[in-house]
Amino acid sequence: MSSIIEIKNVSKEFKVLNRREGLKGSLMDLFSRDYKIVKAVDDISMTIEPGEIVGYLGPNGAGKSTTIKMMTGVLEPSSGEILVNGKIPYKNRTENAQQIGVVFGQRSQLWWALPLIESFKILKDIYMIPDSDYNNMLEFYKSLVDIDDLLHKPVRQMSLGQRTLSDILAAFLHNPAIVFLDEPTIGLDVSMKAKIRTLIKGLNKEKKTTVILTTHDMGDVDALCERIVIIDHGKMLYDNDIEHLKGFFGSYRTLKVRVDDDLKVESEIIQGEFEDLQVTSDDEWISILVDEDKIGVIDVFGTLQKTHKISDMQIEEISTEDVIKKIYEGGVK
């Protein structure tokens, strides 16, 4: 099967005004302008196959939204090629819009004053969805999440979680080939996050929709994505299976211990004892990141036990969150 999104050596540059400081600086800006070129996206290439859920990750300002805007046709790349379902997005914005769905977290695209079901009916007309497809989709929604309460509620009266859920439902309504979700779970409570993940997973499975997901929530990544792409400063850092990613750090484990004394003080002492290891503490645990190629977790624990009074302990596999944090910080090239 041919790939659904092809991105080849894409870059996007913005011209940004170098602002001077203070009032005097602002006045000077009026008369002499000094621009610099910022590369928001720098030579990115990837191909995405139909039916994939790809986690598109990166710290704030990494260039994720810019890439998504290029894939949706809002922005034109400065160089390189993008093909979405065989079309160049910015040249065929309207046709491209027909085959994609977009959710930008916290910016609702629904009619503010209308009950959700009325928005759906208008969308049905806009996307020219046949009656049977429309009804099937609604039925399918009902089988995944409880939407009866939502349907007759005006969007403006909804909670953030309900609104996000509604926006996701609306994005999938015309059964698009690809759905872009930009931070869909931002600011939501645990149960709503779980609901939204179930929904996305279910839709992807049943309708074979390709999903591109940007998020800062590693829970989303663990629950949904098989593949992740990480960018920072516009450059691609990583593109592979999530399992492969964990393999990078396969030899790392986290040793967590609890002591009776003040955790902060104790963790500093431990850090002094093991200078090569990374020691952190929170309210309950002191965490020690151990590279087992160099020293065994049990050895570390044995040494600790001799000098500290340990009341409880845990050994944890490295989490996706830790791995990604390491990549952001430059741990993997």
């Binding site: 914005r93 819009a97 004053a113």
Partner: protein
């Protein structure tokens, strides 16, 4: 994909409009108060007009009822821009905050989609007021009521509306280039007040500006000459439908050009 023609857009507009009205009616107090407000705005406008003309029986050869006709004509011709294109006033806010991006992902005309979101029902009161004024002055002047005259009136009212819409579109679209287009928009909208007077009362400089630069003379003056002074219609009056369509098209192009180069804010 099927082609999306006028029928498609009309049907969608009808649906959005019906839903929008339904939800507006449900906020009863808001609806009543804003309707009363609009009535008072119209009455006060009319009273100041009336006071002016009680003191001068005619201006530059224009009688009281002819002036009244011009006034009614301008009221009716600005109704469409108020009812159908009111979202232009919010454009700068959407653009500034980055929310404008939400309009960019639908497979329909962006300009249509944006404007269809708001229908301002208050303008309808003004429409009734304007029509009343036209009918009253028409009968007082003693103009004949012929099918041709009615057709002329309707055609030239549409022309005038198009020019008003064009002015507002172009003014609103400036926010794609400058941060705050409110003053431009406000200025454009204030010009409509000058549209009520026969252009001959202005100095030649302003006559030129109001005809060729900011064409507000086409909102009421030139079109109404066709009806009021059928014996001496200047060529510009006959041209005004063409000019109206042309201006509307240009303003639409400017608006779309700005919208297409819009890239949103950071998120």
């Amino acid at each position: 994909m099927k082609k999306k023609g006028i029928g498609f857009y009309l049907r969608i507009y009808g649906k959005i409009l019906a839903q929008d009205l339904k939800s507006k009616m449900s906020y009863r107090a808001d609806f009543i108060i804003s309707t009363i407000g609009m009535i008072f705005t119209n009455i006060s406008g009319f009273v100041s007009f009336w006071i002016l003309f009680k003191n001068f029986s005619s201006i530059n050869g224009w009688s009281y009822y002819e002036m009244l006709f011009l006034y009614g004509f301008s009221l009716v011709s600005i109704t469409p821009v108020q009812c159908l294109f009111d979202n232009n006033w919010s454009l700068r806010i959407y653009v500034y905050s980055g929310d404008f991006i939400k309009y960019c992902f639908r497979p329909i005309n962006l300009f249509f989609y944006f404007q269809s979101e708001v229908f301002d029902i208050k303008g309808l009161g003004q429409l009734a007021f304007g029509i009343g004024t036209i009918v009253y002055s028409w009968s007082r002047i003693g103009l004949a009521v012929t099918p041709l005259a009615i057709i002329k009136l309707v055609v030239f009212l549409i022309t005038a509306s198009l020019i008003m819409i064009a002015l507002q579109n172009a003014a609103a679209a400036t926010c794609f280039w400058i941060q705050n287009s409110f003053y431009v928009l406000d200025l454009a909208f204030k010009f409509k007040d000058y549209a009520r007077y026969p252009i001959t009362i202005f100095s030649p400089v302003f006559r030129f500006i109001f005809t060729f630069v900011i064409p507000i003379a086409f909102i009421a003056y030139y079109p109404s000459l066709v009806i009021l002074r059928p014996d001496a219609v200047p060529i510009l009056s006959w041209l005004s439908p063409v000019i109206g369509v042309m201006f509307f098209y240009i303003s639409y192009k400017i608006w779309m050009y700005g919208a297409m180069k819009y890239s949103g804010t950071g998120s």
